[in-house]
Symmetry: C2
């Protein structure tokens, strides 16, 4: 059964994103209408969480809501289960996978040390080729990362809720086995969605199970890491260092102790930048609207109970 | 016809390398002897160029000489063409290809800016995914790099002496076409051997043909770049920046103007570090001695006339 062809693009508070999404909806063959007349809603401002409930209330006929971005934890408690929800899940995966590769190579090849040098530094660096990597997460981002790392001959273990094998991983284990999974790792890479189950998953116990020369790479959410536990490991020298694209909070305050560690590299949530992300989101929305009109399965479905 | 089984490992001036190469020769089944009795020589100290002629003179029966390292320009004028010469060509290619990936991602994702930041920086960065890359060089290093970049969907042009296609490249052109080959490139990567023909190949004319936002990546030799021309381009803003693992001279002096440019990243000749390189060289030497004893074709032959 085909979906309706009247779609609201709301709210209009982020003009560039709004205009691009309106065009995507129209290119796919639907008509852009107000919430009261809409069969579906394309959400056009990820930050405008407080606008979600009033606009949903004004759109009783909207059976499908497309959210932007992949991480939807700020909206997770507002997802009315009587409607169909999709998000940007997977859309940003190639960019974020690229950032993971950049983070690993920057760390393993000591680029921060070289970037700060003002005279010829001593030789240093280790290989990513053939390294042992543990990935927390088994979604689209982990899959994209595994595609990029494939030629490097690394031994990759994925840790996820269910042990369904992740394509390209050498082994896939469940979250309960995470401590064993990080023993012997050269780097542990967090690419999880933030849920109550994954909040604080990188804690003192996990850090203690990692080798002292292992790097922590986080492209999930800041709240995956217990900052005090990471700071204790940094002080004790029981972790090689951390590359963090996400922090809690963001921006990270100027007086946060992470800034004082030479082996902590903070990047300002650039796994994908807005410039990289908008064209990818627009393509996803256009494809999903086309599918909606044709009555086909939509991409990026949200599991409302699981919250991602 | 099988080669002789008496091999000199000379000079002994670098004890760790010398001991490892003696073991490799013996593992392959040959006997280590002095130069006077040798059918072949494994050269065991890349820096001891001035020892080459006297040791060759003392080894009239040595028909094959295995040199360490891939770049042999310091010895190129001492290669007696009546003997067979091999070098470490290709041995270090995977490590150096990894360094190229690290350099590209460090540059494209603005890691030096983030490494120097002491508070939350503004978002920046561009994709390597789908970029247009021009590689100067078509040897083992270019091939290793093309293997690593394969999943990124880049459009790669290789420039080499002869237009024999490089596996994995979208197009291969000759050195004469280098100016056209760099137009439209997001990065130009130098992985050439140093010869009279390639000395100073990155000059004002090549830099002018590159887009203003293109990065220069050099893992060849410092003398491939005309430093004054690169400094002029940096001053004029007609190049995005440079990541240089090789400089002229090395170490780069403290007062060299490269140190004063935030968009020039110097790494201290770590495409492969001694720690990465020695196990790879040892494996190559063992394999070549085994081939020599069996009368098989040796790996890494030097073209004495071409000088690499």
């Amino acid at each position: 059964m085909a979906g309706g062809s009247r779609i609201a693009v709301e709210p209009p508070s982020r003009p560039v994103m709004h205009a691009a999404l309106v065009e995507a909806v129209e290119r796919a063959g639907a008509t852009v209408v107000g919430p009261a007349d809409a069969d579906a809603i394309v959400w056009a401002d990820p930050a405008a969480v407080d606008r979600l409930e009033p606009i949903l209330a004004a759109a009783p006929g909207a059976r499908w809501i497309q959210l932007p971005y992949a991480g939807i934890e700020t909206m997770a408690d507002k997802l009315d289960p009587s409607r169909l929800w999709t998000c940007g899940k997977g859309v940003y995966a190639p960019d974020c996978a690229e950032w993971i590769m950049a983070a690993l190579l920057t760390a393993f090849r000591d680029m921060p040390t070289f970037a700060r040098a003002t005279s010829w530094p001593r030789q240093r660096g280790r290989n990513l080729l053939g390294a042992r990597l543990t990935v927390l997460g088994g979604g689209g981002l982990a899959e994209s990362f595994l595609e990029l790392i494939e030629p490097w001959g690394c031994e990759v273990t994925c840790v996820r809720r269910r042990a369904t094998p992740v394509p390209g991983a050498h082994r896939t284990v469940t979250t309960a086995e995470r401590f064993d999974a990080v023993r012997g790792a050269d780097a542990v890479i967090v690419c999880l969605a933030l849920t109550p189950e994954t909040t604080g998953i990188v804690d003192a116990e996990l850090l203690a199970a990692m080798p002292d020369d292992a790097w922590l790479i986080n492209v999930g959410r800041g709240k995956h890491v217990v900052d005090d536990d990471l700071l204790a490991a940094l002080a004790a020298g029981t972790v090689a260092g951390a590359v963090l694209d996400v922090t809690d909070p963001e921006p990270l305050p100027d007086d946060h102790p992470f800034w004082r560690h030479d082996n902590v590299l903070i990047t300002p949530h650039v796994g994908n930048t807005p410039e990289m992300g908008l064209p990818r989101l627009v393509a996803r929305v256009e494809e999903n609207v086309r599918r909606w009109l044709a009555g086909e399965t939509l991409l990026g479905p949200v599991d409302v109970a699981a919250g991602y």
